[in-house]
């Protein structure tokens, strides 16, 4: 097994003005192996989104380095193999669902027939086949989340990066998404996701990392972490780790 994600000493300081700074991430180290589902947890503002954004080259780190699939992130070609779902995804509201997939397919340079076939498949996978000709302005929050997932899978990525993939979904959608992710794992894909749902993370993630104030406070398999910290439940573990960090 080889590391799909390799993060070394990553630090992000947001400069608000000359004097005011906010720490987004501090000396963050992480390796995620191929075929793993890794769950990022942490209170609001702990740096989860910051980490994912740096990994995708949307913002630049103050310090440190990120390697994905053996390549540095300033190499745009890596992104051919990454699927990304941002938190609260929002898309071009003047496009229809299938127009959106078509547009992203062109950005990925997919051949016309592949693009069409995958769009059709994915639209039914995420349960949007019926509304594919409706403009996104009229989609509900959960429907946007679903089309976002379809977009993230369009290029058949080796690595999936998902920022709170099930936050806006109904219970059925949440279950479907979890099953979908487990299926993708079986295909050998690597998944990094952030979430606030402990039960969800518990059910699908191989390893977890707990973040607070930009620092990675704990990382490993849930069972081992519970034993290590001498707590019974995931919730207790989370609260203990975050409370101890103040």
């Amino acid at each position: 097994m080889s590391a799909v994600i390799k993060i070394e000493n990553l630090t992000k300081i947001y400069k608000l003005s000359k004097r005011r700074e906010v720490t987004g991430l501090l000396n963050f180290n992480l390796e995620v192996e191929e075929g793993e589902i890794f769950g990022l947890l942490g209170p609001n503002g702990s740096g989860k989104t910051t980490l994912l954004k740096i990994m995708l080259g949307l913002i630049s780190p103050t310090k440190g380095k990120v390697e994905i699939l053996g390549k540095r992130m300033d190499n745009v070609e890596v992104k051919k193999d990454i699927g990304f779902l941002p938190e609260n995804p929002y898309y071009y509201e003047y496009l229809t669902g299938s127009e959106l997939l078509d547009f992203y397919g062109d950005i990925f340079d997919l051949p016309e027939n592949v693009k069409r076939r995958r769009s059709q498949e994915l639209l039914s996978t995420v349960g949007l086949a019926k509304v594919k000709h409706m403009v996104l302005r009229n989609y509900s929050k959960g429907m946007l989340e679903r089309i976002g997932l379809a977009c993230a899978l369009l290029n058949n990525p080796k690595l999936l990066i998902l920022d709170e993939p099930t936050t806006g979904l109904d219970p059925i959608g949440g279950r479907e998404t979890r099953d979908l992710l487990l299926g993708l794992k079986k295909e050998g894909k690597t998944i990094l996701l952030s979430s606030h749902f402990l039960s969800e993370v518990e059910r699908i993630c191989d390893r977890i990392g707990i973040l607070d104030q930009g620092r990675l406070l704990a990382v490993g398999r849930l069972k081992e972490l519970l034993k290590e910290r001498k707590v019974e439940t995931f919730e207790d573990l989370f609260i203990k780790i975050v409370k101890n960090n103040v």
Partner: protein, 254 residues
């Protein structure tokens, strides 16, 4: 497909579906049409007015549409966070900016053609002929609009939408007045003021170069040579503006 073309196609779609810009276009058309109100003038003067007002309207409303379009082109993607998803894909930021410029230029061309065809139709209706001067004036206006598009887009890569709008409108005004300003500066005694004036004059594009409507309205001949030179002038400015835009956009935190 060439990546900037993919972006261009999408932003062209967006611009066409924008209500505000359509309203501006309708106003422009009404104004061009209303130049017929000058029929109380003698026939010769009436034609002169129609040409002058028509060309001025195409230029002014064209500029407004371009500036508003350019502001939205980037900021709507930033505000609505559609950029997150887009730039997480294999798309160079350079290609994104180029694509936005192409899409904006395409929408500008379409708006321009609608107004120009309406204007030419009006002239044909009145005079049964259109002089080559009119076409030359229109071509120069089109390149002026492309230039404004590039500048407004470049500014919007690092500035807020409000700043971009104010700056672009300001530049549009100053760029038209700069000829006068320069001749005023020539007369000052202060060397510093003179140097500053000359520097300004060299940096800010002189939009009056694109204005030949005074000549065209009274049928003074403008050489093709002048057109080629002025178009070259605009292309240089466009290239520089785009380079600046790409430079800032590459550093931008999304």
């Amino acid at each position: 497909m060439y990546k900037p073309a993919v972006i261009a196609k999408n932003s062209f779609k967006e611009l066409l579906r924008k209500k505000g810009l359509q309203v501006l276009l309708v106003f422009g058309l009404i104004l061009i049409g209303s130049s017929r109100l000058f029929s109380f003038l003698t026939p010769g003067e009436e034609m002169k007015m129609i040409k002058d007002v028509g060309l001025s309207t195409i230029e002014f409303f064209g500029a407004l549409i371009v500036i508003f379009g350019a502001i939205g082109a980037l900021s709507s993607e930033v505000e609505k966070k559609t950029l997150y998803t887009l730039l997480a894909k294999p798309l160079k930021r350079r290609d994104f900016v180029l694509g936005k410029f192409l899409g904006l230029s395409l929408a500008t061309l379409l708006n321009f053609l609608l107004m120009a065809i309406f204007f030419i139709g009006l002239l044909l209706f009145k005079e049964h002929t259109v002089s080559s001067g009119i076409f030359k004036a229109l071509i120069l206006i089109l390149f002026e609009l492309f230039l404004i598009a590039a500048i407004a887009l470049a500014v919007s890569t690092f500035a807020s939408p409000a700043f971009t709008m104010i700056f672009s409108l300001f530049l549009y005004l100053v760029g038209h007045l700069i000829g006068y300003g320069h001749s005023l500066m020539e007369q000052t005694e202060s060397a510093l003021l003179k140097a500053a004036g000359t520097l300004f004059y060299r940096i800010i594009p002189n939009f009056e170069n694109f204005n030949i409507r005074d000549k065209v309205a009274v049928d003074i001949f403008v050489r093709w040579n002048y057109l080629v030179k002025t178009i070259g002038y605009s292309l240089i400015y466009i290239a520089v503006a785009l380079l600046i835009g790409i430079y800032f956009f590459q550093k931008r935190e999304i």
